[in-house]
C-alpha cells in the first residue's frame, strides 16, 4: 500500500488534542447515528472524518463541538471532558451561518463581541483575519453581496478570530463551486501551516480529504463506526498544485475508494 499507512506510524506522534472515547449517539425516535466510536485527533494536525452521506460524521463533529449530547461515551478536548460549547473550540458551518443583518467585519468579530472584547480591539483582530482569508476590502460588505466561497471565508475568519485551539469544520466547501473549492483548499493548507491549531474536518469528498488531511478517519454507514484510519504520506510544504499530481495522493485516493465502495450500493 504505497503512500499510505494505517494508524501507528513513524512520524513523532503529537499528543491527542481531541479524544473521542467510545461515543454512541441514538437520536430521539431510535435512529442510531454512532456506535461506539473512538478516535484520537493529534494536536496541530488536520483530521478528517470521511464517509458516505448520512453516516453520522456531522453528528460526531457536533458532539465534539458540544452542540449535541452523546448518548454514551465522552469526548475530551485538551484533556477536559466536553459538556457544552467552549472557547477552545470554534465551528465552521456548512451553510456559513452568517448574520445577514451584519457586515463582514461584525460577523468576523462576533465571537469576540460575545466575549465582551472592546470594539476597537475586536475589530483589529477581525481585520487581520479578514486579510488572512483573502477578503481584504470587503469589511463593510454584507453577506448577501458575497459569493458562496467568500461567505465561507467569512465563516472561517470568524472561527479563526476567537483563537480557539480546535477548529471544527462541517463540510465547509460543499456549498461552494468546484473552482472556488480548489482555491479554497489551497488557501486552507496555507492557513493551517501558519496557525498551530488542531483541525477537525468533515467531508464526503475523498479527493478533498486526501488533499487536506494528515489523518483520515473512514466511517461506515449508519450506525457509524470507525472502519479504518489512514495517514496520507504526502509532503505538504511544496507547491499546493503539486500535491494533486503526487503519485502518493492518487494512490491514497484509490485506496480509500476501494475501502468505501462496499458502503455504496
Amino acid at each position: 500500500m504505497p503512500g499510505a499507512t494505517t494508524a501507528g506510524r513513524d512520524r513523532a506522534a503529537p499528543k491527542p488534542m481531541v479524544e473521542v472515547r467510545r461515543v454512541s449517539k441514538v437520536y430521539d425516535g431510535g435512529v442510531e447515528a454512532l456506535d461506539d466510536v473512538s478516535i484520537d485527533m493529534p494536536e496541530g494536525r488536520l483530521t478528517t472524518l470521511l464517509g458516505p452521506s448520512g453516516c453520522g460524521k456531522t453528528t460526531l463533529l457536533k458532539i465534539i463541538a458540544g452542540l449535541l449530547p452523546a448518548t454514551a461515551g465522552e469526548v475530551l478536548v485538551d484533556g477536559r471532558p466536553v459538556t457544552g460549547p467552549g472557547p477552545e473550540r470554534a465551528f465552521v458551518f456548512q451553510d456559513f451561518a452568517l448574520m445577514p443583518w451584519a457586515d463582514v467585519l461584525r460577523n468576523v468579530a462576533f465571537g469576540l463581541e460575545l466575549r465582551g472584547v472592546a470594539r476597537s480591539e475586536r475589530e483589529a483582530v477581525a481585520e487581520r483575519y479578514i486579510h488572512a482569508v483573502g477578503l481584504g476590502g470587503f469589511e463593510r460588505a454584507y453577506p448577501h453581496a458575497l459569493s458562496g466561497g467568500m461567505r465561507q471565508r467569512v465563516g472561517l475568519a470568524r472561527a479563526l478570530a476567537v483563537d480557539a485551539k480546535v477548529l471544527l469544520m462541517d463540510e465547509p466547501f460543499s456549498a461552494v463551486d468546484e473552482q472556488t473549492r480548489r482555491k479554497f483548499q489551497e488557501d486552507l493548507l496555507r492557513l493551517i501551516g501558519g496557525e498551530r491549531k488542531t483541525f477537525v474536518f468533515v467531508t464526503h469528498s475523498i479527493e478533498e480529504a486526501v488533499y487536506v488531511s494528515d489523518r483520515i478517519v473512514l466511517m461506515s454507514r449508519r450506525p457509524s463506526r470507525v472502519s479504518s484510519v489512514i495517514e496520507p504520506d504526502i509532503p505538504r510544504d511544496g507547491d499546493p498544485e503539486g500535491i494533486r499530481r503526487n503519485p502518493a495522493y492518487l494512490d491514497t485516493v484509490e485506496t480509500i475508494w476501494q475501502g468505501l465502495k462496499q458502503y455504496v450500493q
Binding site: K62, A65, G66, L67, P85, G86, P87, R89, A90, F91, F93, Q94, D95, F96, A97, M99, P100, W101, F110, G111, E113, L114, R115, Y142, P143, H144, R158, V162
Partner: protein
C-alpha cells in the same frame, strides 16, 4: 381605481342633494365641514389625546408582545402555556371585553390605552413567534458554539433574525390598534374622538360626523401605507435568509 372613487363620490353627492335622508348629507358639504373642524382646538385636543393613547398602547403591546413571542418561539414550555390564549384572543370579539377593562380601569384614558393593547398585542406575539421559529437552525447553533448566553442570543440573534416577521406583526398590530383606540373611545365616550362622535351623533350633526369619520379613515390608511413602506425596506433581510 381613481375613476371608481369618483363615480361613487358622484353618486353620494347626488343622493345627498336629493335630500332622501338626513343621514347622508352631500359629499361636498362634508368636505367643507372637514376643512372647518380640523383646525379647531377641540379637534386638535381630541387628536392629541387619541394619538397619545394609540402610541402608548402600541408601545406597551410591542414591549410585551415581542419578547413574549420570541420566548414562545424558543421555548416549548412557554409556547404550550401561552399559545392557546394567544390564539383565542386573536380571533375573539375583543369589543365585548372593553366593558370589563372599563370596570377595572375606570372611565378614562387608561381604559383606552388598555383597549389598544388588547387589540394590538396578539398578532404581534404570534408574528414574533413565527419569525423566531423560522430562524435557520445553524444560526442558533452558531450563537451557541461561539458562547452566546441566552440573553445575548435573544438580543443579538433571535430578535434580528425575526425582524421581518416582527415588523409585519407590528404593522398588523397597529391596524388593529386603530380599531382599539376608536372602539375604546366610543365606549368610554367622554374622551377624544369618542366624545366628538357622541356629541355629533346625539345632536344629529351628520356633516360633522362624516367629516370626522373620513379624517380617521385617512389617518388609518396613511399609517398602514407608511408601515408597509418601512416593512419593504427591511425585506432584503428576509430574502437573504434561507
Amino acid at each position: 381605481m381613481i375613476a371608481s372613487l369618483l363615480i361613487w363620490a358622484g353618486l353620494w353627492e347626488l343622493w345627498g342633494r336629493s335630500g332622501a335622508s338626513f343621514v347622508i348629507p352631500p359629499l361636498s358639504r362634508i368636505f367643507l365641514r372637514m376643512a372647518e373642524i380640523v383646525p379647531t382646538a377641540t379637534f386638535g385636543e381630541a387628536l392629541s389625546i387619541t394619538a397619545r393613547a394609540f402610541l402608548l398602547g402600541n408601545l406597551i403591546a410591542i414591549a410585551v408582545g415581542v419578547p413574549l413571542g420570541v420566548l414562545m418561539g424558543r421555548s416549548i414550555f412557554a409556547d404550550r402555556v401561552f399559545l392557546p390564549w394567544v390564539n383565542m384572543f386573536l380571533s375573539a370579539p375583543l369589543t365585548a371585553l372593553v366593558p370589563v377593562i372599563m370596570v377595572i380601569f375606570g372611565l378614562g384614558q387608561t381604559t383606552i390605552v388598555m383597549t389598544v393593547v388588547l387589540f394590538a398585542i396578539w398578532i404581534i406575539v404570534l408574528d414574533a413567534r413565527a419569525g423566531v421559529r423560522n430562524i435557520s437552525p445553524s444560526l442558533v447553533e452558531m450563537a451557541r458554539s461561539f458562547g452566546a448566553t441566552t440573553a445575548q442570543a435573544f438580543a443579538r440573534i433571535y430578535l434580528w433574525a425575526a425582524l421581518p416577521e416582527i415588523l409585519s406583526g407590528i404593522r398588523l398590530g397597529m391596524i388593529r390598534a386603530v380599531k382599539g383606540v376608536i372602539i375604546g373611545q366610543l365606549l368610554v365616550s367622554i374622551v377624544g374622538f369618542g366624545r366628538l362622535f357622541e356629541l355629533y351623533s346625539s345632536r344629529f350633526l351628520m356633516e360633522h360626523f362624516w367629516a370626522l369619520l373620513f379624517v380617521l379613515f385617512a389617518f388609518a390608511f396613511v399609517l398602514n401605507e407608511g408601515l408597509a413602506w418601512l416593512e419593504r425596506r427591511v425585506d432584503y433581510y428576509a430574502a437573504a435568509r434561507h
